[in-house]
């Protein structure tokens, strides 16, 4: 049997009387590229917020490598190897691109809250940051304030910051939203490259991206999983066609 990286069990989430997530069960295997799709308001982003610890659950369990992570604060979940990006770009806009990436590396490289280590002398840290800049094609923007980058560059930076800490499970929330076709192609290439050997879970609206990248697709409708499986099976699933793809295809 394949090893499970992330397991959601009977997950529910209600905001007041409104049920957003209504009993989600999902196992995501190690090394899998998993896409979560569904119409607007299906609860995809809420699901990410629950997994990453941003919102508390109403009930259910979340296991990361067989360890329960629900009820833990986001920074603790992150230290256990789960990292996420945001639908709305979430970077340190006043810091340079270099500083943004370096911050993302600090915890995993063991610097923690040190107020005695001079950053400029940390060769391994600084070299790794520069290598990542090359990898993300952002080397020419190294000293630019992140807030001044173009939208596509900001999204690339965001992905870079998400994977920098070496997390084994990566959640990407609509990584290509708002991008042009060329930019999307580049982003898909980048995601494919950086998610090598990691477990990737992503929410995505662009079906081309989904079918390009995903090994497994889960369809979420009104807070419930209506189908989950390999792309071809999900595409052929009549319930999915009716609830989601069917409408898109016409």
């Amino acid at each position: 049997m394949t090893e499970i990286a992330l397991s959601l069990r009977n997950l529910t989430k209600a905001f007041g009387p409104t049920q957003i997530i209504r009993g989600v069960n999902l196992d995501i295997a190690k090394g899998e590229r998993h896409a979560i799709i569904g119409p607007n308001g299906a609860g995809k982003t809420t699901l990410f917020n629950l997994i990453s610890g941003r919102f508390p659950l109403s009930s259910g369990e979340i296991l990361l490598d067989d360890v329960r992570i629900d009820r833990l604060p986001p920074h603790r979940i992150n230290r256990m190897g789960l990292s996420r990006s945001f639908q709305i770009t979430s970077i340190f806009h006043r810091l340079s691109v270099f500083e943004n990436l370096r911050c993302a590396l600090l915890w995993s490289m063991g610097y923690h809250y040190s107020f005695w280590t001079p950053l400029w002398l940390q060769r391994a840290l600084n070299q790794r940051t520069d290598l990542m800049l090359e990898d993300l094609n952002l080397a020419s923007r190294r000293d630019t304030a992140a807030g001044l980058l173009s939208y596509a560059d900001q999204r690339a930076l965001e992905i870079g910051m998400t994977i920098a800490g070496g997390a084994s499970v990566i959640l990407l929330d609509e990584p290509t939203a708002g991008m042009s076709n060329t930019e999307t192609d580049n982003a898909v290439e980048l995601i494919r490259r950086v998610s090598q050997g990691k477990t990737l879970v992503m929410v995505e609206h662009d079906m081309k991206v989904v079918f390009d990248l995903a090994d497994v697709i889960t369809v979420l409708v009104y807070g419930q999983v209506i189908a989950s499986g390999p792309p071809q099976a999900v595409r052929a699933n009549p319930a999915v066609q009716e609830a989601y793809l069917g409408r898109l295809a016409t």
Partner: protein, 427 residues
């Protein structure tokens, strides 16, 4: 923002040399004495620089709007009075040069306690908690006579006869150099902190605390550590205050001083490391210099602060740094004429405003003090219509004229910015 780096090393060296030499520029070679006024002003600038820099560890670097920073300055001061008394009585075997370190530890201790409460929150809630802490401490200072000495405060004698260099600190010049040395050490230490993982993560949580969370950092711990360390440095400032004045009253921890810390950091500029020093020097100059000339100096500080918040939120240092790319491109000459054209009406406006404020002040407080307004050797009758109408005309004429000139200035500025843009990204 590369502004927070020591890349302009020479500016710092010049500042240091000026600070060392300044008392000698006012030395009276006939009587062989230093100017007491200048020395006390320079000393004040030193300790206020520490206060403002440590405040900016919160406001500028961590995005924390604290309203109780004087608490830690004050506690450093009170504790130091007691340390001096102990040392004077021979029960604290520590040279006076090292006592400010203990003052810092006092500030740190209290900042750990209060920081634990305040940093549970951020933004507005944080500000409100610190407001409460400030009021709590002011009340405590008046209630607990044993430590704080009530209204009269506590006093001591700095001549404890225990010095690393065999100095007695009987003269203010020795105290000034002690303050200068500590200001330098504290400023260097605070700069060093900005270049450490904690310092950088303080910037990061300021910009986006949620992202910092998803990188393994607890933003609360970052805030707490930054708060505690800034309390340490404020405590050092308070210790120097106690050594200088040998008396500490609740003024040293009350809200007006907290507000001053904010004014100095903001007016100087919170985004550049050195900004708060500039603010501390400027506010101290206004405080000691202008207060001698005018009853209304606080009005000027207030108006300066409001104008900065509205027109130059990056502070004086921010304004200076905005010229960096223009100067580097050798284009500053193109701004010379536009500058003259805004400075003339600006000066007229300030003249009119100061005129009105002074006329009002002489009509009320001045009259009560029996003073008369003398300008260029002429007595001005504050009850006459003439000076009032001249001042009003200057003010409104200046405002209208400045608005027109400011528009053309902005055009030149924006054109320069557009021209320089491709060059900046290519570099």
């Amino acid at each position: 923002m590369s502004g927070s780096r020591f890349n302009h090393g020479w500016v710092w060296i010049v500042t240091l040399v000026v600070a060392i030499a300044a008392p000698w520029a006012f030395f009276n070679y006939h009587s062989g004495r230093h100017s007491g006024f200048v020395l006390s002003m320079l000393s004040q600038m030193g300790m206020m620089s520490i206060l403002a820099l440590s405040y900016n560890m919160l406001l500028g670097q961590a995005g924390l709007f604290s309203l109780c920073h004087a608490t830690f300055f004050g506690i450093g001061g009170y504790a130091t009075i007691h340390f001096l008394n102990l040392a004077g009585a021979g029960s604290l075997p520590l040279p006076i040069e090292l006592i400010p370190f203990l003052s810092g530890l006092s500030g740190l201790g209290l900042a750990i306690v209060f920081g634990y409460m305040a940093t549970k929150q951020r933004a507005t809630a944080f500000a409100m908690i610190t407001l409460g802490i400030g009021e709590l401490m002011t009340t405590a200072a008046l209630m607990f006579h044993h430590f704080f000495g009530g209204e009269g405060g506590v006093n001591s004698n700095r001549m404890i006869d225990h010095s690393l260099f065999g100095l007695k600190y009987a003269s203010s010049i020795q105290v000034y150099y002690l303050i200068l040395a500590w200001t330098l050490v504290a400023a260097l230490a605070m700069f060093y902190l900005t270049q450490t993982p904690l310092g950088r993560m303080a910037n990061a949580t300021r910009d986006n605390f949620e992202r910092a969370q998803f990188m393994g950092y607890d933003p609360r711990t970052v805030r707490f550590l930054q708060f505690a360390l800034s309390g340490f440095f404020a405590g050092i400032g308070g210790g120097l205050y106690a050594i200088t004045y040998e008396i500490v009253t609740f003024d040293a921890l009350a809200a007006p001083l907290s507000a001053n810390a904010l004014l100095m950091a903001y007016i100087g500029g919170t985004s550049a490391f050195g900004g708060p020093i500039l603010g501390a020097v400027l506010i101290t100059l206004l405080q000691s210099g202008v207060s001698l000339m005018s009853n209304s100096w606080l009005v000027y500080v207030g108006v300066l602060f409001i104008s900065m918040v509205i027109f130059a939120p990056s502070g004086i240092m921010g304004l200076v740094m905005a010229h960096g790319p223009i100067v580097r491109a050798g284009q500053f000459g193109r701004l010379a004429v536009p500058y003259v054209r805004v400075i003339v009406p600006g000066f007229l406006m300030v003249l009119g405003f100061v005129g009105l404020v002074e006329l009002t002040s002489f009509l009320t407080i001045g009259a009560a003090q029996g003073k008369t307004l003398v300008l260029f050797g002429h007595k001005i009758d504050v009850h006459a219509v003439m000076p009032w109408s001249v001042a009003t005309a200057c003010l409104f004429g200046g405002i209208v004229w400045l608005r027109i000139e400011a528009r053309s200035f902005r055009q030149v500025w924006e054109k320069l910015m557009i021209e320089l843009k491709p060059r900046r990204s290519a570099a």
